[in-house]
């Protein structure tokens, strides 16, 4: 301990907390006094209330000279303003880590939404377990937390028993499942005690709209839970993988437009726009002036189908792909289906597009770019056409 260095401070703090050895605490104070910035390692290694009084006082006394200590002092009520409020440059990821390691729910709730967002964005997503340790099991934090040892320890601080801990971690495990597995897995699980929190965490959304919470309360069925989670995941990932379209079609199977629209209306704005884009906006942005009418007619034809067909089709464009592509302006058309110069190949790509638009999209890009990545893309597209045709 006498030879310990600032790099040992986290381990030394854990040792001091676990053993209550005076020598360990004295070493912590010695290192902290020499370098107040190292308070970051202390508050991240152990909760504030576990620190000995002289360590706490040393940190608070350095608040005027050190930003990290200032952030900690603010979270403990010893300072009226956080450092970022006085100096714009003071809110760094280090001060944010110190802030979240020591903040209490009472102080956090006094911050405005903008301030909370600023601190959250300064922190980044890699150390959310410290937020959970300080602020509790808020689904807003769990929705983006990473499943690891630190998170387990943080959750364990706030739950009465092991069953409750596993219950809090389960939606994170569901969030990390492949989309195609979600519906069957949730159907095999018992109903969650708090369906709204389950959907928020498994859907990966930090902010839960009250409308979605109400919709879940009004539809307490596994199918509704699956529909909401799948819709959120598909909308947030913005990745038109065939798996996603299939998962969405499966989740919405048997749903009426009334029920589907109720869910879509309850989703966060960006998710709703991704799943149900405004036809007028699409037509204005994408189509050629002389083909707007055809474009709208095709979208209307899609809308007449059941939700389990239409919503995935709006992502993958389904059988109407070719019609829609023909109506597009040059720039978006070249991005979606850049036809080869060779007429034979162009005809072949057209034929494939009628069966599988995504495969045709990849194939067309591969034929155009002729790179290594393009050849891989070509092979993947060709395999999909051969083995996995859209029914």
């Amino acid at each position: 301990m006498q030879r310990s260095e600032p790099g040992d401070l986290a381990d030394l703090t854990r040792l001091a907390v676990a053993s209550s050895m005076d020598a360990a605490w004295a070493a912590v104070v010695r290192l902290l006094s020499a370098n107040p910035t190292s308070a970051l390692h202390i508050v991240t290694a152990a909760p504030w209330d576990d620190l000995r009084v002289d360590v706490q006082e040393t940190i608070l006394s350095a608040a005027d000279t050190d930003n990290i200590c200032a952030a900690i002092a603010f979270t403990r009520g010893a300072r009226p303003d956080p450092p970022a409020m006085t100096r714009k440059t003071a809110m760094t990821w280090k001060t944010a880590r110190a802030f979240f390691a020591a903040v209490t729910p009472a102080v956090w709730n006094t911050l405005t939404e903008g301030e909370q967002r600023a601190w959250g964005s300064a922190l980044g997503g890699t150390v959310l377990h410290r937020v959970v340790r300080s602020l509790g099991l808020d689904p807003a934090f769990l929705a983006e937390a990473t499943h690891d040892v630190d998170l387990i320890a943080a959750v364990r601080c706030h739950v009465p028993d092991e069953d409750a801990m596993r219950g809090m971690l389960l939606p994170i495990a569901v969030r990390d499942l492949p989309l195609a597995a979600i519906s069957r897995t949730i159907a095999a699980l018992p109903p969650p005690p708090d369906p709204a929190a389950f959907v928020q965490i498994a859907g990966g959304i930090p902010t839960m709209p009250s409308a979605l919470r109400d919709w879940i309360a009004a539809n307490p069925t596994p199918q509704a839970t699956v529909g909401a989670i799948t819709a959120l995941r598909v909308a947030m990932q913005r990745d038109n993988q065939p798996d996603h379209c299939r998962a969405l079609a499966h989740a919405l199977e048997g749903w009426s437009w009334q029920k589907t629209n109720a869910l879509l209306d309850a989703l966060p704005n960006d998710a709703r726009i991704a799943l149900r884009p405004d036809p007028d906006v699409l037509a204005r942005r994408l189509t050629r002036c002389d083909r707007k009418r055809d474009f709208r007619q095709t979208l209307d034809a899609l809308a007449a189908l059941s939700p389990s067909v239409t919503l995935p089709a709006l992502l993958a464009l389904g059988d109407c792909f070719l019609v829609l592509v023909d109506t597009l302006a040059n720039a978006p058309r070249r991005k979606i289906l850049p036809l080869p110069r060779s007429a034979t190949r162009a005809t072949a790509v057209h034929a494939i597009a009628a069966a599988d638009p995504l495969a045709a999209h990849r194939l067309a890009h591969a034929l155009r770019c002729r790179t290594q990545g393009g050849r891989r893309c070509y092979k993947r597209g060709r395999c999909q056409v051969r083995h996995d045709p859209v029914p």
Binding site: H147, V149, R166, L170, A180, A181, A188, L189
Partner: protein, 241 residues
Amino acid sequence: MHASSPALTATLRALRGETDLRVIAPAFSNRRFARVLALAPGVNVVVSAPGALAGGLPDILTPAECASPALAAAIASLIGTDAGHHILGSWADVAPVGWGASHAADVIDAVRCNRCASWVAAALIGPCDASAALLHKTMGHRQRRPALGTDHARQPDGVDGASRFERAETSPAYTRRRTVLCRTLPPLATDKMRSNDSQSPGGEYAVSCVRRLYQSVTRYPHQSCRYPIGAHATVRTRRSR
């Protein structure tokens, strides 16, 4: 992922009450499905605990679960399988000390079949010649420290070989191996602790145990490295603490 993948099918069967590990094994090969099994309510501990291990979440297991004979038997039945390959690494973190001694032959066979890492096998088996030999055969040749001042000490990219060795010693993977291996040592006796350096209670005794664990390395004829594998790093690091 196809909707009817073996991992998904196995997971669904386990969630519906299946406890035959041979049926559920595919779920343990996929970390994401294994975590669901570990955390889902109502799943038998013989399934959920291996799920936690395969999912890389050994910390959610309680001491009682880790000491459960049913779990020990379940894991023993998976040694040498693909599922066992995913489980044993985390099991080395929490297994009762010396658990693998009674399964040493199976564990060593699993190492030969690339179904278990050598250091994991050594940690499970505990301090003995067999585990020392396992460590020697793998760690020794990879982490040989070049002699300072020789041509071998200077790497083509200009990085000193010794510096590279130092970096390897402090890497998270190496630290974890060292921690897990040190965990397998016998508990520190009070009289031993008293007889050693007061600033590091039990430190010298732990060092001597680690040294003994690796001493048998020198008895193997193909041992050629200058520093006995792992032992050097472990001993030195613990001393410096």
